[in-house]
């Protein structure tokens, strides 16, 4: 039991630590709905992974990146408003995923675990995957921090100054896809974006620089994971949603109490 909890805690903290800084970018670039769309499509990735018998995480990443590319292409063509497009893709992908899963007769999938996460079901391999993927994301974020931020602040200025804007945008999508793949086990496809956005939004209240906001988002996410796990253990509530509720509580606290921003 202790082993199980410890593993869950380790996994959860790993995910929260990575989701925080990336969540800051999602918030800054107003990509929340975009992240949601990618997350929803992850279930389709799971189904395809089972069907084609390839690594599930890999299938999710490939599918997310593919979908992101489709999205960007469609966006450029201005066929339809972006939020409508996202709505169409998000729910079509989710439904397609659910339909595809229903075809998997010979494999039993715990659908609830994929939709809402099951922190207590993670095994040793998952922990390795979370930390491997997590370190890759953090390393990429640190290496490309300046161009990522420059493109986020103002794409035109960044382009004139010679930043490879398109490549950076693609990198950000790849990172979001990675985080989704990593976080799915913990909070599930329906709640992943909340783990990115809520801690970042909470951190905004306390920060005066981008680096502060990104690191606070990590810390706040970790707090939420601890709180959620504890509540889940104490009252036998579902772990994923408990973590999100805890994050939302922290958000409320940050915005109702008169905290001062760090200088």
């Amino acid at each position: 039991m202790l082993d199980l909890l410890l593993r869950a805690l380790l996994g959860g903290l790993g995910v929260a630590a990575v989701a925080g800084p990336l969540g800051a970018f999602v918030v800054w670039r107003r990509m929340a709905y975009f992240g949601d769309t990618l997350a929803h499509s992850a279930l389709l990735g799971v189904a395809l992974g089972f069907l084609l018998d390839i690594n599930l995480n890999l299938a999710i990443i490939v599918l997310c990146v593919g979908l992101a590319l489709v999205l960007v292409t469609l966006q450029k063509k201005h066929i339809i408003a972006t939020d409508t497009l996202l709505g169409i893709l998000a729910h079509s992908a989710l439904s397609l995923g659910l339909v595809a899963v229903s075809f998997l007769d010979n494999i039993r999938i715990d659908l609830m675990a994929y939709l809402f996460g099951d922190l207590l079901a993670i095994n040793q391999a998952d922990v390795y995957w979370i930390y491997g993927g997590g370190f890759a994301v953090i390393a990429l974020l640190v290496t490309f921090w300046k161009p990522l931020l420059a493109v986020t602040v103002n794409e035109e200025l960044a382009k004139v100054e010679g930043y490879p804007v398109e490549a950076i945008r693609l990198l950000l999508m790849l990172l979001v896809a990675l985080v989704i793949a990593v976080a799915m086990k913990i909070v599930g496809v329906l709640l992943i974006t909340s783990l990115m956005i809520i801690p970042a939004a909470t951190a905004r209240k306390l920060s005066s620089t981008p680096v502060q906001m990104a690191s606070f988002a990590s810390l706040i996410g970790c707090l939420a994971v601890c709180g959620g796990l504890w509540a889940s253990y104490r009252w036998d509530t579902p772990t994923g949603p408990s973590v999100v509720v805890c994050a939302a509580l922290l958000f409320l606290i940050a915005y109702t109490l008169p905290f001062k921003r760090l200088r």
Binding site: V27, W28, K146, E156, K159, Y163, S207, S208, P210, M213
Partner: protein, 262 residues
């Protein structure tokens, strides 16, 4: 002779069959201040976006000097309020910036005290200066300024134009400025290019303000004395109804083709 930084060669841009710009010829040299004027929707912004590589020209080409390095000052700066950012951090984003230069650059523009301010709380004039600082930190030999005095009061505008002129004198860089309000810019400008899809007329400020193509777009200079701060020559007189009475006989008789010889 000073180095020619940019030459527009018969640039044309159309979008969905609509012609935005056609046959634009224009050059900018080191140490030269060129002001692009034209009414709203005349294609000024489109033209500079083409120079900046943010938009493709449909026809013609832009010849850039191999040393060309642009410092761009956009019209406005919108930064999402969820992104906490100080002026210092904003300026540190310039690609390959020398961070030691940030404070001196701000001080040169008279805003050294803003180093640690959040970008969201700056006034219009302060924002313009911060944007100018960002353009300068890119170590440009050509400054491209899109409506640099937008949202700045008249005194602030005069100060900003003086600053820009000082920078030109100090760096000997070229300056390409866009404006739809030309009353103030004129005094400092070497060349005015008046466009409305095509180049209506270009030349010295005095030449352009006297030009009928210009007057057709902007009215008669001096008609509103309260904002006529630049020095200009009256090459015409008004009759009692305010319309122009030609003095020199042919001064208002010529057509467009007459004025594209620059």
């Amino acid at each position: 002779m000073s180095k020619r930084l940019v030459a527009f060669d018969k640039i044309g841009i159309s979008f969905d069959g609509r012609v935005l710009l056609e046959n634009i010829d224009m050059t900018i040299s080191e140490g030269e201040i060129v002001t692009l004027i034209g009414p709203n929707g005349s294609g000024k912004s489109t033209l500079i976006r083409t120079l900046l590589g943010l938009q493709e020209a449909t026809s013609g080409e832009i010849v850039r000097h191999k040393t060309l390095r642009i410092g761009y000052m956009p019209q406005k700066l919108h930064i999402d309020p969820t992104l906490p950012l100080t002026v210092k951090h904003f300026l540190a984003l310039v690609r390959g910036v020398d961070k030691q230069q940030i404070l001196p650059t701000l001080e040169k523009l008279g805003i050294g005290h803003l180093l640690k301010s959040q970008v969201h709380v700056l006034s219009g004039g302060e924002t313009q200066r911060v944007l100018l600082a960002r353009a300068l930190l890119n170590r440009p030999n050509l400054l491209v300024l899109d409506e640099p005095v937008q949202g700045v009061d008249v005194n602030g505008q005069v100060e900003l134009y003086n600053l820009i002129e000082n920078i030109r004198n100090e760096l000997n860089c070229g300056v390409l400025m866009v404006s739809h309000d030309l009353h103030l810019v004129m005094a400092k400008t070497d060349t005015v290019v008046c466009i409305n899809q095509h180049v209506c007329c270009s030349g010295s400020p005095q030449h352009v303000t006297g030009h009928p193509a210009y007057q057709a777009l902007f009215g008669v200079p001096g008609a509103d004395e309260s904002i006529a701060i630049y020095a200009h020559q009256h090459d015409h007189v008004h009759d009692e109804h305010g319309s122009i009475v030609s003095e020199g006989g042919d001064a208002h008789g010529h057509d467009h083709s007459h004025c594209n010889h620059h």
